[in-house]
Amino acid sequence: MVRTTDSPNCTGACGWLATVVDDVIIDLKPAADYPCEAYNPRGCLRGMSMTHMIYGPDRVKKPLIRTGARGEGKWREASWDEALDYVAEHMKRITAEHGADHMLLFNQVVGTGYLQKGAQVRMAAALGMSFATAYDFNGDISMGFTHTVGIDCVECETKSWAEAKYAILWSSNVFQTRIPDAKFLTKHAKQENGCKIVCIDPRCSQTAKGADLWIPISPGTDGAMALAMCYTVIEEGLVDWDFLRTFTDVTTFVRSDNGLRLRAADLGLGSDAEFVVWDEASKDWFVLPSDSLVLPEGLKPAFRGERTVKIGGQDVVCKPVYQILEDTIMREEYRPEHVAKVCDVPAATIRQVALEYATTRPASIVIGMGLNHRLHGDLTIRAVLLLASLVGAHGKPGESVSIYSGQHHFRLDVSSWWFPDGIRPKPCPMHYFVLGGPTETINPKIKYPKDGFKALFCSHANPLVTEFSDLIKETIDKLDLFCVFEFSMSPTADYADVVFPCPTFWEKQELVGTSCHPYLQIQQEVVPPQYDSKTEFWIVNELMRRVSPELHDRYFGISEEEALRMLLENGGKECSGITLEQLRAGPVRLNVHDPECGCDDQFHDMKPFPPRAYPFPEGANKEFVKTGRMEFYKEEEVFGKLGERVPVYKPAFSHLPDDGQAMPLCVVTPHSKWRVHSTHSNNPVLLNLNRKAVVEINPTDADVRGIRDGDTVEIFNHFGSFKLWALVTETIKPGVLCIDHGWWDRYLAGGKYHSVHTHQKVKPTHENYYLPAVYAPGQHWKDTRVDIRKVVNAGRAKRGALVTSGGE
């Protein structure tokens, strides 16, 4: 039996005990050996059924070189030497003709595997290749967080949920997406602690089952509800002034002449990087400390009241941010009675939830991607963060706003292994690759290659099963080389020129961290790489040897073991003192607060925002929140142009063309428990339980279209269409369809899953700064609108054939 961990993109990083007989894994059971007993056991149906992926029918067993057209499915098996030579020759030629930056590496969720994925980044850095952080392209980057706290997401360790007495799951479906952590809500928070759980979701999801209150909100209107809750909190006088003055920018002043924040330099009191508040006690300006959030005793910063100051000889009227916020929110449009109709939530409920959230302690919010995968998702999240800040609900056990999308987050500083001699690859968001070129507003820090990309290396990724697959295919068609590292013959691998067979998580070592829990773990080579697969570390070594023997010798002359030690020794304060030997014996808790509540350096240790964004140096994200506080006023002109300097509500679909808005139905695309994104789509055991791709539809929408349960139906709009099967259910709001994300097209009744999705668009407020996967463009695929019709003469699925494990 071997103790190991897996590292898929759910990033649960669960500990397992694998039983191996004759080099075959015959059993996987939760290791249940976390020193903190509450974490035991971790694991879920996906991890447990990995045997059927490791030995699954789609396993890539040999290096493959394409012989037909791209995507035609014609291959020949090659030796490793032949495949490596083929790719290396292309790399050398592209480098000579265009430059190495014309080759792009795209590997997913780098935060889940520091060693193997790191080896690929190390190659990209050493050769001067471009590197597309996958996280922003996934749309999981939560720019609302970056705009507010300077880092793209914040989360508490899930153990902290247990302390909550009030929990709002805001479009978060933790019972499906955080299965190993759900116990902290059901068993600990609810059963032991009497926590009230509120679920805001247009569908009565699996998670809504566990909620005391289910609010089927109209999709995309969550920002309006959050601001109406802010309205209630202010109206009822429940504002936590102490929290606001300490941790936020709301006592800083804004100049009426240019919309910028008033600086100490404007008043001759300090530098341009320092900000002032008006102290009601001393009746004088006070310069906020830049190195600490601690304010002197007796300081009484003003929250309201205009002041006129002399700047450059001119009188300039200034106003505190709080007053701008209050003037914005306390208007008719955000009064719960008005917002009720927008959200389809009773005003009484909005008020009740706001009051309960403001007065019950501790109170948590968990945000799901239904809020974020929208063009105006940044505004929604800013509004939710404002709500929590108004009542001071951050940074305590059971009290935080968490968004478990930050799974690329590094638990330690990986720079020593990833960036040899400090050299980094050239960052370029995948958006620009997909768009086929830069936008007009692209950040100048991003160097889009002069001749366009010539090669793409995809690893741990399946971008051809995303909402922009068609666009990606068009761009891939222009490439000289498309090389895929895979263990399963995914639709992306199917479109490649060369496929390198890689091991699953059970056949290679890896250093694994996650945002869900603070344990660092070693993934072990439970069985050797199966079939003819080779580790990413090995493949990259062999490519380097061929492309540049000199750089190979300089940067790749070390073993996996040495690289692991390098990572641990240079990982920074979080992992200092943790040794490989300790990790081989079991999970080791990082040197972090217990429990982690999110932004502990700030809320606990009173250091200014932003938290450090690994693997970037301290201060790399400082300019995103110049005040060093949570910012609810964005002074940059680009926000002013969009009317988004403070959190406001913008209707979700208002950016669609008229024919898009005319479509009668919204479509939500949640993650399901049967897959991790598109991984496990082809897991035979899970397909045995979840047999067909279905669209959930309310009977009122089905009846008017003559659709019955099990019918083959077509989803369509002005972009495209695809077919699948109808699951007529009372659990979804009328006007909303639900299709689980991640189905491979081959499991549909026809067409392409992604063909209906709204087209790529980049928001300029996501481009004014750039830091890979921290400040970068987000995604908006949930803004799609569609209609549905019955496919005539297509037959019906048998009753009970759609879902199993009991059925009705």
Binding site: R42, Y55, C204, P216, S256, G735, R785, S805
Partner: protein, 244 residues
């Protein structure tokens, strides 16, 4: 005398099917055979709809009708209450399948289908040899594990620890203490289909509260959001833009 039983706390259960898959792996069952299932039940009309997940498995009844129905005496009850089905004695008559009021015995008379390619050692050498084809099958409470002092696979795999297994005759067992503790909190266990009179060993604790729903009951439309331009809230143009 011991009486092994399974308690499932529906407050803890999240309907994740980890039990379903853990059981499948432990017992090496073929395609379409699930000893541990999770019923996904929805009741009511939108918006007053409820979801309920009810994990089910063989109840190891004290008065097991399957045992009485089997013409080949292939089903027997151990001293510790575990009801087992002897693959060697079973002739696949299906009498037990008809007799079980819970539908928890599975019989495929045709050749079994499997998941992986035939040449994969995992299934070929480690899974298929463990079963006989054409016989009835059901949950054994993982008797082979229980005999080793381990808990059933579905219990150790349950990520919310919703499944409590043990000896209800022993007042100090985990299951007895759990039942007692929850009784003090006003929660009583119940059994499925008590009217069937089989004295099942499986029991449940219900969800802790009734779910409220709050909505105006409308449809999700492209919403009409009327910005409030009637009251100018600031004299500053650049801030006014923020309200658009």
């Amino acid at each position: 005398m011991a009486r092994y039983a399974m308690l499932i706390d529906l407050t803890r259960c999240i309907g994740c099917d980890a039990c379903t898959v853990a059981c499948k792996q432990e017992n090496g069952t073929p395609l379409d055979t699930f000893f541990a299932r999770v019923l996904n039940i929805e009741t009511g009309k939108y918006p007053h709809v409820k979801r309920l997940y009810v994990p089910v498995l063989c109840n190891h009844c004290e008065d097991a009708p399957c045992l009485k129905a089997c013409p080949n005496k292939a089903i027997f009850r151990r001293q510790d209450g575990i009801v087992l089905l002897d693959q060697e004695r079973c002739r696949g008559t299906g009498a037990c399948v008809s007799a079980c009021p819970y539908g928890n015995i599975i019989l495929h008379r045709d050749e079994e289908d499997w998941y992986l390619n035939e040449d994969e050692p995992y299934e070929r050498d480690f899974v298929k040899p463990r079963i006989r084809e054409g016989v009835a099958r059901k949950c054994t409470y993982c008797a082979h594990r229980v005999d080793e002092g381990l808990k059933p696979a579905c219990v150790v795999a349950c990520p919310t620890t919703a499944r409590i297994f043990g000896d209800t005759e022993d007042p100090e067992s985990e299951i007895s203490e759990y039942i007692e503790a929850e009784r003090h909190r006003g929660r009583e266990t119940f059994k499925l289909l008590p009217e069937a009179g089989t004295k099942p060993g499986g029991m449940y604790l219900g969800p802790m509260s009734d779910q409220e729903v709050s909505t105006l009951g409308g449809r999700a439309e492209v919403e009409v959001f009327i910005p409030d331009d009637s009251v100018p809230y600031t004299e500053w143009d650049h801030v006014k833009e923020a309200s658009k």
